[in-house]
């Protein structure tokens, strides 16, 4: 099958101020929302749903049991949607291309759809601050389920622990603080 997302324009997600309503669809709850001030008319649709990640109470978030379910609802939503919507998507190649196809079919253009760089399959990530292990991390960052720190996933993989290192963005360099609580 054609790797569609290699042809899709992808980039870090940022809210487009030109939009009047914003819909963020993501394949996993760990995938972070677009950057920039969160617009008031913003909805997040998430596949799965994970009790460890609490949705921001200021956001409207809906959970879907599968990507197919979400995509189905997306097609229906876009068919009835008015001008002014901006669509953002995060997930793997397959998910992003399906979202882009759905948007194209609804008559949206590249200026109205934003795709995050495709995530690879999930990785195992350990929080270096509290040693909590996270499975199937699809994004470059996550909120630690143990200590709540906002972690960024380093490219360093520890054979010993069998996981990638998750480091708090604001933390001092690794090794200068105590790990564990």
């Amino acid at each position: 099958m054609l790797n569609a997302s290699s042809l899709l324009p992808v980039g870090p997600l940022r809210f487009d101020e030109g939009g009047r309503r914003h819909l963020f669809v993501r394949q996993a709850p760990q995938l972070s929302v677009p950057s920039g001030p969160v617009p008031t008319a913003m909805t997040t649709w998430t596949v799965g749903g994970d009790s460890r990640v609490l949705p921001d109470p200021s956001e409207h978030e809906q959970f879907f049991r599968s990507a197919a379910h979400l995509l189905d609802r997306l097609a229906w939503r876009l068919a009835t949607e008015r001008v002014g919507l901006r669509l953002y998507a995060a997930g793997d190649d397959t998910f992003l291309s399906a979202v882009a196809l759905t948007g194209d079919a609804a008559g949206m253009t590249g200026e109205e759809m934003y795709l995050a760089p495709p995530v690879q399959g999930g990785r195992r990530v350990i929080c270096i601050h509290c040693s909590t292990m996270h499975d199937d991390v699809a994004d470059e960052g996550l909120s630690c389920a143990g200590c709540g720190a906002v972690l960024s996933v380093r490219s360093h993989y520890s054979r010993r622990i069998g996981a990638y290192m998750g480091v708090a963005e604001s933390a001092p360099p690794v090794g200068t603080e105590e790990t564990g609580r």
Partner: protein, 317 residues
């Protein structure tokens, strides 16, 4: 251009009819070969005049007969104008010779979009008359909102009488709240096309962006009628010639009259084909093509509409 401008398609005015007090419809009949096929949104450059002078003006082509023998245009009489449009209003009677120098399309229908909202004011309705014919043929959904003065309402009503009343709306009051409602109700797939005076298009563009139309879904055609101004002189660096541009001439006309092969396409400040480098002097930009930075740099000029702020300009011609 589809024909070299020295030849073009010879034609005569076959019929003239008033549309409004300031708009006049001309049917033009080819006298040699038929006119080429014309896509919706095209304009032609029409050459006409008298013993004293010739004008070469762009007008949107409203319709072409199936056999290519006729073209229809609508010409607006600009207030106080002594240009080509005033000549056509005054002297454009059946039998007057007109040459169609060429036909080009800078404002084609976006065929891949299923839904179109068209906004026009005054003579800006002309490209949409051909749009609506094409869209009816292609099965595209559209709605035209045309803005006019209250006293012109009857005339535009008559002009649009044979159109689907569900697809054309006349407005004689530019109400921002109402426009905002109309645009915000458009489906996400909708494309907006607009044509009319600058003030109108700035207004529509601002309201459209405000309801969330992305810039790429806002299409416009902006032609400038070349307007006169102070006389100036251009020195041509390559050929060594000097050419004077009179108050009523365009720089492009003056160059052509001096036998210079100057590039051009639309002759209305809309395409950028006539761009020439300016080596010295300050241009007075009147086009709709150059970006702000290019205007400020002042190192190029679109000869079809723009003039000079200084008494002379030196051009790279």
């Amino acid at each position: 251009m589809m024909m070299p401008r020295s030849t073009g398609y010879p034609a005569v005015i076959a019929d003239v009819a008033p549309v409004t007090p300031t708009l006049r419809r001309f049917d033009i009949r080819a006298t040699a070969q038929p006119f080429p096929p014309v896509s919706a949104g095209s304009h032609g450059v029409f050459a006409f005049g008298d013993a004293v002078r010739t004008w070469k003006n762009p007008y949107s082509i409203v319709a072409r007969s199936d056999d290519g023998s006729m073209l229809r245009i609508i010409v607006r009489l600009a207030q106080g104008s002594r240009g080509g449009s005033a000549f056509l209003h005054g002297q454009g009677r059946p039998g007057l010779e007109i040459t169609v120098l060429g036909i080009a399309n800078l404002f084609p229908v976006v065929r891949k979009a299923r839904r179109h909202i068209l906004l026009s004011a005054g003579v800006g309705i002309t490209p949409f008359l051909s749009y609506m014919d094409a869209m009816d043929g292609m099965g595209l959904a559209y709605c035209l909102h045309h803005y006019c003065r209250p006293e012109e309402r009857q005339a535009f009503h008559a002009l649009l009488a044979d159109r689907d009343p569900g697809r054309v709306v006349l407005h004689d009051d530019p109400d921002t709240g109402r426009l905002s409602e109309i645009l915000a109700a458009e489906p996400v797939s909708s494309r907006l096309s607009m044509c009319g005076p600058d003030g109108f298009m700035n207004w529509v563009g601002a309201v459209a962006r405000d309801v969330g139309f992305s810039p790429g879904k806002i299409h416009s055609e902006r032609f400038s009628a070349p307007e006169g101004g102070a006389a100036f002189r251009v020195d041509l660096a390559r050929s060594g010639l000097s050419v004077s541009v009179g108050p009523e001439d365009t720089l492009l006309d003056a160059l052509e009259a001096a036998g210079i092969e100057a590039p051009c396409l639309c002759r209305g400040g809309a395409c950028g084909a006539c761009r020439v480098a300016v080596l010295s002097g300050v241009p007075d930009h009147r086009d709709h093509v150059l970006a702000e930075a290019e205007r400020a740099a002042g190192d190029c000029i679109l000869t079809c509409v723009s003039r000079a702020r200084t008494a002379t300009l030196t051009l790279d011609l």
